[in-house]
């Protein structure tokens, strides 16, 4: 039966992935103190004029009633995001005083371990002024933005700053997804079968935690210069083939995590990696700024393949081909719709951090940044870096991002799983192998 509801500009129905992120956010708040958020840091090669930036960004944010909204349930039980006009400011601003760049990054990291204040705020901006340069940290609540959406949001802001206009339907209404039940159930069945098969086949190797009390999300970043980035992509093309950088990055990260687990004497087994895939259509310039438009692919890196990069790449390529062919990311997205019936707190219980995760690490490669302008407001951009909080299970994430011709690797981890030295060694191993 097809139920069609009239679209409303004030409500945007949440997809299965949105609902899972809502639950993940709750699990993070309960167990780790702060919600599921991420930060995009823009390094500017000059000092931004704070007052005019805040004024312009505040006006821009007022164009989006979602930023003052909240989750709700409709009479048909479908969860939705209720757009609002609370009168409160849709964005929080903060200034950070740092003695040097290292101190600045430490303080920006601290902000990701701090809940949004006041409650109901989904976006905050942190300004750090150093001697001749400045950093702008944009903290996004994952319930409203995914990584690509946040890049697009900043891109649209720059257009707004230059033209005073914001073009395109940026908050399009969406359906309630209360149709296509048989497809959703078939997708659910398919995912369940894949899960059972994977569990039987694989003994997963992952980090172990004694406790999550007081655990903080830490970050380590390595950015490559233009020539280094070119060299990395040339190696990726040669070893993994054209358009396969993400598999190359995944293979290198897998080998480094494998070596780390060896050093930590973490038993034997395969690595299972959850890989985030943007589900926006390829080649699209995308106006989908808000909510989550991604799904996951799961890769198994066999213990026997891990020591040899070429063998590992062959195995991952074959797996990728099969996963795309059997449309498992689409199946997971569709199956997720069935989860929307569960209360958020119940779903959150299933996403609580576990002593030993069934996933070895989380991985994403966002590719070329959607923000392509050379500057932000009137200052030249040096680099743009993603700092995503990692889901508490597995508590270890390796993320690649690229701004212009600069590649960055971000290691995101919970400090109850990995010491600072171990994290530094892991990032060094990845950077050197790339």
């Amino acid at each position: 039966m097809r139920i069609e509801l009239p679209f409303s500009r004030d409500k945007r129905y949440l997809t299965g992935m949105d609902w899972i992120i809502q639950a993940l956010d709750k699990a993070c708040r309960v167990r780790l103190g702060a919600g599921h958020s991420f930060q995009i840091v823009i390094e500017l090669e000059g000092l931004i004029e704070g007052g005019s930036f805040q004024e312009c960004f505040h006006r821009y944010c007022l164009l989006f009633p979602y930023l003052q909204g909240a989750p709700a349930r409709d009479f048909n039980l479908a969860p939705y995001w209720k757009a609002g006009k609370s009168g409160k400011s849709p964005v929080g601003f903060g200034k950070i005083k740092a003695v040097d760049a290292k101190d600045a990054w430490r303080l920006l990291e601290k902000e990701l371990n701090t809940p949004f204040e006041p409650a109901g705020l989904y976006l905050k901006v942190l300004e750090v002024r150093l001697e001749k340069v400045s950093l702008l940290g944009f903290v996004f609540d994952h319930r409203l933005f995914d990584a690509r959406g946040a890049e697009l949001f900043l891109k649209k802001f720059q257009e707004y700053f230059l033209t005073g206009r914001c073009e395109g339907d940026l908050t399009p209404p969406g359906p309630a997804y209360l149709d296509r039940w048989s497809e959703q159930f078939q997708a659910g069945r398919k995912m369940n079968r894949l899960r059972i098969a994977a569990r039987k086949m694989t003994r997963v190797r992952s980090l172990e935690a004694r406790s999550f009390k007081g655990a903080r999300n830490r970050f380590k970043v390595k950015s490559f210069g233009t020539s280094e980035t070119r060299a990395v992509f040339e190696r990726a093309d040669k070893l993994a083939g054209p358009f396969m950088f993400f598999l190359y990055g995944l293979a290198v990260a897998g080998q480094a995590v494998h070596a780390l687990l060896d050093r930590k004497d973490a038993g034997t087994g395969d690595l299972v990696v959850s890989v985030t895939r943007d589900m926006r259509p390829a080649g699209s310039n995308g106006t989908a700024l808000f909510f989550n438009h991604f799904s996951f692919l799961f890769f198994r890196a066999g213990e026997d393949c891990l020591p040899d990069l070429e063998v590992l790449l062959r195995s991952l390529k074959s797996e990728f081909y099969d996963r795309v062919k059997d449309k498992s990311a689409e199946a997971l997205r569709d199956a997720g719709m069935l989860m929307r019936i569960l209360p958020r707190s119940v779903l959150a219980l299933g996403l609580q951090p576990r002593a030993k995760s069934s996933i070895s690490f989380s991985f994403a490669s966002t590719g070329e940044n959607a923000y392509q302008a050379e500057g932000f407001m009137e200052e030249k951009i040096g680099n743009m870096i993603h700092l995503p909080r990692v889901p508490p299970s597995p508590g270890l994430g390796i993320y690649f991002s690229q701004y212009k011709s600069k590649l960055s690797v971000t290691l995101s981890y919970l400090d109850n799983l990995l010491s600072e030295e171990e994290a530094a060694d892991l990032l060094k191993a990845i950077s050197e192998k790339l």
Binding site: D237, P242, V324, K325
Partner: protein
């Protein structure tokens, strides 16, 4: 399967590319580079799957070099050699 000419293969590739990329970067052309169409890893593998479906050849195993991927024309010649 009856042998197909490079031109016939190219026609299928152009059609599949337009479907996969939904014509978002304009209509695919035989001599433009694949990268300029906006292919990424996922859409590229979708194209390889379409090639397997249409020509019964699994290029991901058969091996494709960077030269074969410069343009759709070059890719059509590569498929022609493989089938």
């Amino acid at each position: 399967m009856a042998a197909k000419s490079v031109e016939e293969i190219l026609e299928v590739l152009l059609h599949e590319t337009d479907i996969i990329l939904s014509g978002r970067n304009g209509k695919a052309s035989p001599s433009a580079s694949l990268a300029s169409f906006g292919f990424d890893s996922l859409s590229f593998v979708e194209l390889l799957i379409a090639i397997e479906r249409n020509f019964n050849v699994k290029l991901i195993d058969a091996g494709i070099g960077p030269e074969d991927l410069k343009t759709l024309e070059a890719l059509a010649r590569c498929i022609h050699r493989a089938i």
